[in-house]
């Protein structure tokens, strides 16, 4: 207990002053005058608006990447006490005093600064000398493109940081595999690998390439582990399980965590609500939730509803009808039924109200108790303001002649009977009940007579249809498509018997109280899906470039221009570093192929451990460059120089590795390698000689076994 009286308490610390110095220089280079310029620089205008949304906790949707990167930037704003009140509309606009520029830019700058000592660590862990490691760190330190990108509210530096962290921790892990598997540090680095990978993916989707690379290397190592027959089966299984959990399960969990926090933070409705489903919108404060609060949940016969199309293309809209009829003859000479138009209308309107009617009864009010409508029930839909019934028939639709016209039936007393029965098809009844519910249920209306499905064609009608969107009955009812799916957004139980009363009722807002809650997974999957599918119009940009321009540094981006002094910020690489790094990659590839071919002929130029080190360095650095670069050739989006920076970082790491290798093994033919030759070369030669003699023996054996085709 009083042990410290007998023995002194000793703290031994190994401090690598190289690392400390590199960190200090890195911090200096990235943090020096960080708040200058006090103006919006380039993509800050883009990320800044999301920071403001976080500060105000307003929901938004950004298709460019998962939320972790945005949240990191927002964290900077939170620490600096930013209230989100700034209009991010123009590059070069001066920041107002309430914007904490320094703290907003702090986290990316820190990430950029810490990349410097990490480069050192990685090269060291790869088994190369301190000299090479310091070289790698210095190259990262002085690369001006990395400095520029780190000093602004941008995501690349954080992405690079987590990419490097993933590689570094994997290296630490695989090095500790030799001495202490399942030790605390082994577990720490393994799990950190998974977490860092998830963070990289969480910042930008391109992080997934580094993740896949690390997974690939881990898989190869695991495969060797399986082949290691000194380990027992159980132990191999434990190893594999630990890797699977840390590198597959944990990243997924961490990724989900980002979305969890994201959705937790953003709880208010905002400008992008319309893209999401009604159920999702209802889960946000304000907006739709305010409208739908307290609606009855189950749709019953007599319910008054508005029906929103689930597709939302070209605009979100509601099923609509009005007094006007289809013109007897269209411009192109085809005829119509001249019945009341049914359209889809992108604005809230009293004409969007429909009443669910039981075909067997005449009343348009809800019984007490309400009779809920279920999957497969036959219903009629009466338009609230005109009480005409939704109808479709074998008449070509105005703009999509392959499909059927949808109308509200007017009895002209010609030989055209009403065909107004619809079968309710609840698409998501598997995951929910088969009762038609407000907001939650996604339903299709299948026409009983023709089995056509009520569908939004999306084409805007000409002037006679007030440019509202065309709705058709389509028999191509295969598969699921959003344009055939509708959901009830506003809903109330109809109470008025008389038409006049009913019109008043329709004009009044819905009331009552229930709250809708979607599960996290449902919200996550919807949000993730929308983020992946939201279409950003691929616009050409003045500074956009192609991947080929990047290697030769044939492009730049002007980030900012001082309005008076013409001081400028440009993203431009250091041409010496870029060229020599590219050269190093080329040299590496050629040398690697040379060694590989010669090893195949059993000529070992490198000792085994040296070869393994060389191959691992190539797999991680040259491979890291390749996986972060080559996929851009296949991407169709607008590309910029900064997309190359993650690849460049890996390429820079390769440069000192190649230099050291060349100087050790190729330039000087020094003693170490000769000494090695004399040790290992002799048995090698012996082996080859014996090998060469063997064919005569070998030939004798298969000669008798020459395969013949059965004739």
């Amino acid at each position: 207990m009083l042990g410290f009286l007998q023995r002194p308490v000793v703290v031994t610390a190994d401090i690598n002053l190289n690392v400390v110095a590199l960190t200090a220089v890195g911090l200096l280079s990235r943090l020096w005058q960080l708040a200058y310029p006090r103006a919006v620089v380039f993509d800050e205008v883009y990320y800044g608006q999301y920071i403001s949304f976080y500060m105000k906790r307003i929901f938004f949707l950004d298709g460019s990447g998962p939320p972790f990167g945005h949240m990191l930037l927002a964290l900077g704003g939170y620490l600096g006490g930013f209230d989100g009140n700034f209009l991010w509309n123009r590059i070069g606009a001066e920041y107002s005093t309430n914007v904490p520029v320094w703290s907003l830019r702090l986290l990316p700058a820190l990430a950029g600064a810490l990349s410097v000592p990490m480069a050192y660590q990685i090269v060291w862990e790869l088994g190369f000398s301190h000299c090479a490691a310091v070289g790698a760190a210095l190259l990262i330190l002085i690369e001006n493109a990395l400095i520029t990108q780190s000093r602004l509210m941008l995501l690349e530096s954080a992405l690079i940081f987590f990419n490097l962290l993933a590689v570094l921790s994997y290296l630490k892990f695989s090095n500790s595999q030799k001495h202490g598997p399942f030790s605390p540090s082994w577990w720490f680095w393994l799990i950190l690998t998974g977490v860092a990978c998830a963070c990289a993916v969480g910042i930008k989707y391109v992080g997934v390439f580094t993740y896949l690379l690390v997974l690939g290397v881990a898989a190869v190592h695991a495969w060797h582990l399986i082949g290691d027959q000194t380990l027992s089966n159980v132990r191999v299984l434990c190893h594999l399980l630990a890797r699977a959990v840390a590198l597959l399960v944990i990243p997924v969990l961490v990724y989900l965590l980002f979305f969890y926090v994201h959705l937790l933070l953003l709880c208010r409705s905002g400008p992008h609500d319309q893209i999401m489903s009604s159920a999702f919108q209802a889960s946000l404060e304000g907006g739709l939730a305010r409208i739908t609060q307290g609606q009855p949940l189950e749709v019953a016969y007599g319910s008054q509803v508005t029906l929103k199309n689930a597709f939302g293309q070209p605009v979100p809209c509601w099923l609509h009808s009005h007094q006007s009829t289809y013109p007897v003859i269209y411009e192109n000479g085809r005829g119509s039924s001249h019945q009341q138009q049914v359209t889809c209308y992108p604005f809230k309107d009293v004409n969007n109200w429909w009443i669910v009617k039981d075909p067997g009864r005449h009343q348009l009010v809800v019984n007490n108790p309400p009779r809920p409508v279920r999957h497969g029930d036959i219903v009629q839909l009466a338009h609230g303001m005109t009480t005409r019934l939704l109808n479709t028939h074998d008449v070509a639709a105005p703009l999509s002649p392959h499909s059927q016209e949808v109308s509200c039936y007017i009895d002209y007393n010609v030989s055209m009977p009403a065909q107004n029965l619809w079968r309710l098809d609840i698409v998501n009844r598997e995951s929910d009940t088969d009762v038609w519910k407000t907001i939650v249920s996604e339903v299709r209306f299948v026409h009983v007579n023709t089995s056509a499905v009520l569908k939004l064609s999306g084409a805007p009608l000409p002037d006679w249809g007030f440019r509202q969107l065309e709705v058709v009955g389509e028999q191509l009812s295969r598969g699921y498509h959003g344009s055939t799916v509708w959901s009830v957004e506003e809903h109330r139980y109809g109470r008025s018997q008389e038409q006049k009363e009913r019109e008043l009722e329709l004009h009044s807002p819905t009331q009552t109280d229930v709250s809708r809650n979607l599960s996290f997974m449902a919200r996550f999957s919807e949000l993730q899906w929308r983020m992946l599918t939201v279409r950003s119009d691929d616009s050409e940009h003045k500074y956009s470039s192609t991947p080929l321009d990047w290697v030769m540094l044939d492009t730049n981006i002007a980030y900012w221009l001082h309005p008076r002094t013409s001081a400028q910020i440009h993203l431009l690489g250091n041409i010496v570093i870029w060229a020599s790094a590219s050269l190093a990659t080329l040299v590496y590839a050629l040398l690697f192929i040379w060694y590989l071919f010669r090893r195949r002929r059993r000529v070992c130029d490198l000792p085994e451990d040296c070869w393994l080190r060389w191959a691992l360095a190539g797999a991680l650095c040259a491979g890291g460059w390749a996986v972060n670069y080559v996929p851009f050739f296949m991407m169709e989006k607008t590309l910029f120089l900064y997309h190359y920076l993650p690849a460049l970082t890996f390429q820079i790491l390769l440069l000192p590795v190649v230099l050291e290798h060349v100087s050790d093994h190729l330039c000087s033919r020094p003693r170490p390698s000769m000494a090695w030759l004399s040790q290992n070369g002799a048995p090698g030669v012996l082996l080859k000689r014996e090998k060469r003699r063997s064919p005569s023996k070998r030939k004798a054996v298969p000669a008798g076994r020459t395969p013949r085709r059965p004739a």
Binding site: Q229, S457, R601, R693, P710
Partner: protein, 777 residues
């Protein structure tokens, strides 16, 4: 036949050197190990295969072939009207017979063969092939269908032989043959004038010859080795010559060849120089380079043989098909406009053929302006306005691929409206750097641009037709510049690459290559781009040129060389392929639909009275295939892990595992190669794209079940009935596959289809009209 032959066969296929590679190979020190490896070559006891005598084998093959032909040729003449894409490929066959030039996104070989088959069987190319459902009447169509069915029928013996070679097991081969014979999808796809039977024929033939030449690996450079190797090359050329999908089998053969060469390279016994040891004694210090050089002779011979047969030969054949294509099609036809002016000059009947036009542009000339980017077309305008909300409501300007009166423009001076063709005025040539006005001949509106955003490319400016009878405003002025020329030079027709720079905004006239929506008749967008980067998009050349006041010169100097034609044809095809994008709101087939047989393709039949044809796989076959792939991955990884753990397997099991890992591995690779790339494709996809992959997956199924049942039989060896497990299993599988879908297709309607309630079955319910007919499938 002595039993040793069976074992020898197995040994030849299972090439033991494949088994030891990487670290294992490094352990193989000394000659004793090498010989051990050869003797340890798995002796696969193939009890059932030994039972069949050679005549029996031939009889089986004949039976399989007969079955296949009988099913494929049964009622081939039905329906006697155009089915689905017959409308395209039959039409293209007719083009070959009529020698009119056309454009298609696929390489020419398949259509050429169809044309040839039609020609040989008396079809005269007069049928119009207008739309699906048209009756053939008196036209002879059976020859073309028969040709496709013949190739389609050969698929089954090919698959049979491939599996036999890979597994050395007759039951496996039979199972495969049965799977394919009884698959309704393969049957349907093989019966009509389509490219797919031809494509699949070449793919399977290439696979078979590759497997065959692999089996001669221990007798390299023998006559059959050469035969199969060169046949592989021929079939690769055929596959690529029919559709670009043939690239996948080329990749597979390429992968096989590379790994083969890699093993040869690592085989230290392959050396031609036997005096190496002597040299080494003389010069002990420089062993490695000589060693390196010396050993390469045999490997080099292998390499050369493969380059010759698998690269040079296919390329030569592929090029030859194009040579024939361009030689046969020498008349002007519907495909002219897709190609450059120089190319069109070759086609008789085209207005550029043997044409003579004025050489230099002058004011008053009537011209057509063509984009330098391939397959973009001519600057075009027509009497329709941009719809409201899309820029200014003025006349549309687009590019259009076809020749049309609306492509004609008149060059006028910017400041006068006097008619330059007035004979009293002298001819005035247009010079580099002049400011001009381009008046659309048909509508008399000027080419115009202004600060409104372009319809699709939002950062560019809109280009419109503006003004009445040639009177517009200063936004109609363009400066004409020749790329890389000095100011003041005249502008040559066809030769000069010109740019049109808008005087007021300083932007450059260009085509974005994007397809306008319906309101623009799906022509391509024309914009004025403010980014002055020099790209092909903004470079144009003058093609037609009419000016009565100028003397004409001949155009023969423009004849392009054959390599230029090849390159251009490929560029146009690739662009055409990329242009086949699904439209919004259209139900499209997704790759994940295919293996589960989610939804078929309607070939024929609009109403209840028609003969109805629906392409859908036999669910038993397809779902069995799907199950087999999962099972294969499971059993394959179990074996791989067991081998990697160094487990000592009994000889028989080891032999089976080799079949599974190597033979099955090749088939799985084939399946993946022919399936997964579709996930990355942006173009519109159809169900029938899956069929090459389905062939591989059926072969895998045959091989897998045979192997698994053998393993079962082996593990139950202690029971008396063990021997029958395998036989019974194979028999029950064969019977199960022969399941014939009930007559009413309704039963095949997937349960998740909403039409299931319909009384009259899937066919009428699914497609009331013709949107499914692919433009180019």
């Amino acid at each position: 036949m002595p039993p040793a032959v069976g074992g020898g066969l197995a040994g030849s296929e299972l090439r033991p050197r494949r088994g030891r590679c990487g670290s294992q190979a490094a352990r193989a020190v000394g000659p004793d190990v090498a010989t051990e490896a050869t003797t340890r070559s798995p002796k696969r006891p193939a009890p059932s295969s030994r039972r069949f005598e050679a005549p029996g084998r031939w009889a089986l093959l004949a039976l399989v072939t007969l079955m296949s032909f009988a099913t494929r040729f049964h009622r081939l003449d039905q329906p006697p009207h155009i089915c689905w894409d017959e409308t395209h490929f039959g039409k293209m066959g007719s083009y070959y017979i009529n020698r009119t030039f056309f454009f298609d996104v696929h390489p020419p070989l398949g259509k050429m063969l169809i044309g040839l088959a039609g020609h040989l069987t008396g079809y005269d190319g007069t049928f119009l092939f207008q739309k699906p459902g048209d009756e053939y009447e008196h036209h002879s169509y059976l020859g073309m269908r028969g040709f496709c069915a013949f190739l389609g029928a050969l698929l089954i013996p090919f698959a049979y032989l491939t599996v036999l070679e890979l597994s050395q097991s007759l039951p496996a081969a039979l199972l495969t043959a049965a799977l394919l014979t009884f698959d309704t999808g393969c049957l349907t796809l093989s019966q009509y004038i389509l490219l797919d039977p031809i494509l699949m024929f070449f793919i399977m033939a290439a696979m078979l010859s590759m497997v065959k030449y692999n089996s001669y690996a221990n007798r390299p450079f023998s006559a059959p080795w050469w035969l199969w190797l060169s046949l592989t090359g021929v079939n690769l050329a055929g596959a690529l010559g029919v559709k670009f999908v043939g690239l996948f089998i080329i990749l597979q053969v390429g992968w096989n060849t590379v790994s083969d060469l890699w093993h040869l390279f690592g085989d230290l016994s392959l050396s031609m120089i036997t005096h190496m040891s002597g040299i080494r004694q003389i010069m002990p210090h420089m062993p490695s380079t000589l060693h390196w050089l010396g050993l390469q002779v045999t490997v080099g011979k292998h390499l050369t043989a493969r380059i010759l047969c698998l690269i040079v030969l296919p390329l030569a054949l592929y090029t030859a098909t194009y040579a024939v294509h361009f030689m046969v099609l020498n008349k002007s036809g519907p495909g002219d406009g897709f190609f450059s002016s120089a190319f069109q000059a070759r086609l008789s009947g085209n207005n550029l053929h043997n044409a003579s036009i004025p050489e230099h542009l002058a004011y008053g000339s009537v011209i057509t302006v063509k984009s330098a980017r391939m397959a973009v077309g001519y600057l075009h305008s027509h009497g329709h306005l941009y719809p409201e909300g899309i820029g200014a409501r003025q006349q549309q300007v687009t590019t259009y691929l076809h020749k049309d009166y609306n492509n004609l423009w008149i060059i006028k001076k910017h400041n006068t409206n006097s008619d330059p063709l007035d004979p009293s005025l002298p001819v005035e040539f247009v010079k580099h750097g002049d400011v001009i006005r381009l008046e659309h001949k048909e509508t008399s509106r000027n080419l115009h641009s202004h600060y409104h955003e372009a319809p699709l490319t939002r950062k560019h400016y809109q280009v419109t037709g503006y003004g009445i009878n040639g009177t517009g405003d200063s936004n109609d002025f363009w400066r004409i510049e020749v790329v890389n020329r000095k100011f003041g030079n005249r502008i040559k027709v066809l030769r000069s690459r010109i740019r049109l720079i808008h005087l007021v905004t300083g932007c450059v006239l260009g085509s974005s290559g994007k397809v306008l929506p319906k309101w623009g008749w799906e022509q391509l967008e024309v914009t004025c781009t403010p980014y002055l980067k020099e790209t092909l998009n903004s470079i144009w050349n003058v093609e037609d040129h009419i000016n009565p006041k100028l003397p004409n010169i001949s155009l023969d100097v423009l004849q392009p060389s054959f390599p230029e034609i090849m390159l251009e044809a490929h560029m146009v095809m690739i662009r055409g392929n990329n242009g086949l994008k699904p439209k919004d709101n259209e139900f499209t087939s997704k790759p994940w639909h295919w293996p589960i047989n989610y939804q078929g393709l309607r070939f024929s039949g609009i109403n209840d009275t028609d003969f109805r044809v629906y392409l859908l796989g036999n669910p038993v076959v397809w779902w069995l295939n799907l199950l087999s792939i999962a099972l294969y991955l499971l059993s394959g990884s179990i074996f791989a892990v067991a081998l990697q753990r160094g487990a000592r397997l009994p000889a028989e099991v080891e032999g089976l595992s080799q079949v599974l890992l190597q033979g099955g591995g090749q088939l799985l690779l084939g399946w993946m190669m022919h399936y997964f790339p579709f996930f990355l494709m942006g173009r519109i996809l159809y169900f029938h794209h899956y069929f090459p992959a389905m062939l591989f997956s059926s072969m895998l199924t045959g091989l897998l079940w045979d192997t698994l049942l053998r393993l079962c039989a082996w593990s139950l060896a202690s029971f008396s009935l063990a021997g029958h497990v395998h036989t019974l299993g194979i028999l029950s599988l064969l019977l199960g596959i022969a399941y014939r879908p009930p007559r009413r297709l309704k039963a095949l309607t997937p349960p998740w289809d909403v039409t299931k309630g319909r009384a009259d079955g899937i066919v009428t319910a699914v497609l009331p009209s013709f949107p499914q007919i692919s433009k180019y499938s």
